[in-house]
Symmetry: C2
Subunit: 278 residues, 2 copies
DNA sequence: TCCAACATGGAGCGGCGTTCCAGTACTGGA
DNA sequence: TCCAGTACTGGAACGCCGCTCCATGTTGGA
């Protein structure tokens, strides 16, 4: 790690925007959203603020760039399209997928109702790519939501929109409904992934003491203790929440939206609804 | 503004958590997310930080409380349930709905396929309640997303979850799917409302110079100028995005999810898919 | 009447994002 | 070989932030 070559030289390796973004991602991964400060960044890069500001306009742009880098890596891993066989992830490590949770398989579906490369499957792949990226970078959903609600025309939104949209088109959705169908999918994916990330992140904060099961248990208990008059439904689903599996639940939601799309926009479809569903 | 009654007395009206939250909401509405600082708050309330910290633990809790107050007001306006005729909005003004955009009606649906008080309609009402609240408080979606992805067990999530969940149950969804169906709806609503709020907020930043149409036009043009090799789909829907109506689009997405729910979880349903859909 | 508990607000601390600018290494032309 | 110009660096410092400390004012119960 320590550059030992020559001291009188300014630095072994020149500072670059790429290196700065990479360090920012590492800081975010290690210390969370509050961990990324320009002071921590200058120390890690052994430089001063001016050097960083030469490459990056402000902290917001740095956060956007970090988010974009991670999302780009996640989406390039997901088989969005068989084209472009070359071109691996640029920065950001290759998302140590799955990890703690059990099944890497899409779970649920008992038998493949569609061919393995159907648009439905590809949409699930894109969604799980993001899902896994969020598991590796707990700060991602917050940043994603911020960026989405602040400037929807940044680089991240088009990236995700494009990946999903291609498959919506491949599904046979008529052009007039592309925007609606894709929006619905993207909104669901980001929202659900964000919420699930909160589970993972919270569970990670106390790794040995409280594991995921205990954490969900506590949350479920909190729900059960709400006022029965004001929150009858919440109390009723508290048990269901305790036992749910993140990935399975996530997939079920996607299938819900996919079913809606095929039913509403493909009235004469042959395949029809996706699989899963008990 | 300036309390003139008696000086030697500490203040005309005692400070309370409610008054603080109310002032916080006003500051957020007036100056955006960056406008809420403890210094601005002390000035507006003619007090010091200590007094505020006596009622509120920290800034995060204040933001949570402000978010909760606005959401509670929005949901109490939406006819989530005919029970409890009394009990109006506590704090926060009653959401000056619609405002700039044209139709207050749910738009879209040509004829009511369900009775006007169907669970579907109530879900739409809840969703539009949040939608309108966001139009009046552009900082809301960001805060909502933050809160959702940071601590999903706060007071806001159960509130929304409860409002939607009751209608999901009323739809006849079997108990085993309540959590999944409700989650999908909530995620879509929050995601879509947040994105649409970004449009509204950006358009409001330059009220006279750039109106909403011009803003969408610019965004659409930006999408059309993306690399055709990397973003073929985005370019194809750019025109569709320029012409879309926020509320109509929002409703279409809800119907998409509702259709998925009824198709997947109510196999023998009579009413079936919601209305709208050309 | 007194006093403990409640409530207040001014002063100030440490840390943040950001700016300023003197200085250092490379570059190409003379 | 020099030297001016450019690209880049990093230390010092500024203004504002959230937050804490604490002396002080107010009030309800004994």
């Amino acid at each position: 790690m320590a550059p030992r070559t020559r001291r009188p030289q300014r630095r072994t390796e020149a500072l670059s925007r790429e290196r700065i973004v990479e360090a920012a991602v590492e800081l975010l991964d290690a210390a969370g959203e509050g961990g990324l400060t320009f002071r921590a960044l200058t120390e890690r890069l052994a430089t001063g603020p001016g050097a960083i500001y030469w490459h990056v306009a402000n902290k917001g742009e740095l956060l956007d760039a970090a988010t974009d880098a991670v999302v780009a890596a996640a989406l390039s891993l997901a088989p969005a399209e068989p084209a472009k066989p070359a071109g691996p992830a640029e920065s950001a490590e290759p998302a140590e997928s799955a990890g703690s949770s059990g099944p890497t398989e899409p779970a649920g579906s008992t038998e493949p109702a569609e061919p393995p490369d159907s648009p439905q499957d590809k949409i699930r792949a894109v969604a799980f790519g993001l899902f896994d990226a969020i598991e590796g970078h707990p700060w991602l959903p917050t940043q994603l939501a911020l960026q989405l609600s602040r400037s929807p025309w940044g680089s991240v939104t088009p990236r995700i929109f494009e990946s999903i949209g291609r498959q919506v088109r491949a599904l046979g959705v008529p052009e007039g409904h592309w925007f609606t169908a894709t929006s619905a999918l993207v909104h669901y994916i980001l929202g659900a992934a964000g919420q699930n990330a909160a589970n993972t992140a919270s569970a990670r904060t106390f790794p040995p003491d409280v594991d995921r099961a205990e954490f969900l248990d506590a949350a479920s208990k909190a729900w059960e203790e709400l006022d029965p008059d004001d929150y009858p439904f919440i109390r009723a689903v508290a048990a269901e929440m305790r036992e749910h599996d993140d990935r399975e639940q996530f997939l079920a939601g996607i299938d819900l939206v996919l079913t809606g799309i095929t039913a509403l926009h493909l009235p004469s479809t042959q395949g029809g609804a996706p699989s899963s569903a008990t």
